[in-house]
Symmetry: C2
Subunit: 109 residues, 2 copies
């Protein structure tokens, strides 16, 4: 127990859930917003901006990288993070499809 029973769900359902889960933490939302706001890559600022320890932020970045929504490029001693346009668009499309699949109640109790 304690583990999600992925086997009983479709690949699509698992993927959608995984993606939503990755975004389902305020620190990760804040990180993405920060990158977006900067209109460029972010190299190191994050630790000063958010009120979390460096190790914690590194961990959140790792999770965002795992689902592919951000990308890191080594730039000297630091690493620059950008949003992966392709993955971002893909996530957007998936969510649009999901939310578009329901357009209001028809017959109901």
């Amino acid at each position: 127990m304690g583990t999600t029973k992925s086997e009983i769900f479709s690949i699509r359902q698992n993927k959608l859930a995984k993606m939503l889960k990755a975004l389902g933490h305020p620190a990760r939302i804040a990180i993405l917003q920060h990158i977006i706001k900067a209109e460029a890559c972010i190299c190191g600022d994050l630790v000063n901006e958010l009120g979390l320890a460096q190790a914690t932020i590194s961990q959140h970045l790792k999770e965002l990288k795992n689902v592919g929504i951000i990308q890191g490029t080594i730039e000297g001693t630091s690493v620059c993070y950008c949003i992966d346009d392709k993955v971002w668009a893909q996530f957007n499309a998936e969510l649009t499809a999901f939310f578009g699949s329901y357009a209001g109640r028809k017959t109901c109790c």
Copy 2:
């Protein structure tokens, strides 16, 4: 430790994350899809459809109710679940805004 540091994030960030987290499980995606597919309220079918124990499904339904995206109406011995149109639309709008806040890279490393 082990607890998310909600205090250091904005209400908006926390809300968005909470909503995404609630949707970030394949069972909850499956439940929502099932309700949508039925084009009506779902009363009891869920336990037979998904391969999870009744207690587990009840727990997932509770989490979806907690964020308001579904609504339960007692109908005799069973409970009918529907999507809350208003909350669904709100979530959709929030996500559209979030994903719309980034439209591709400009200057980057």
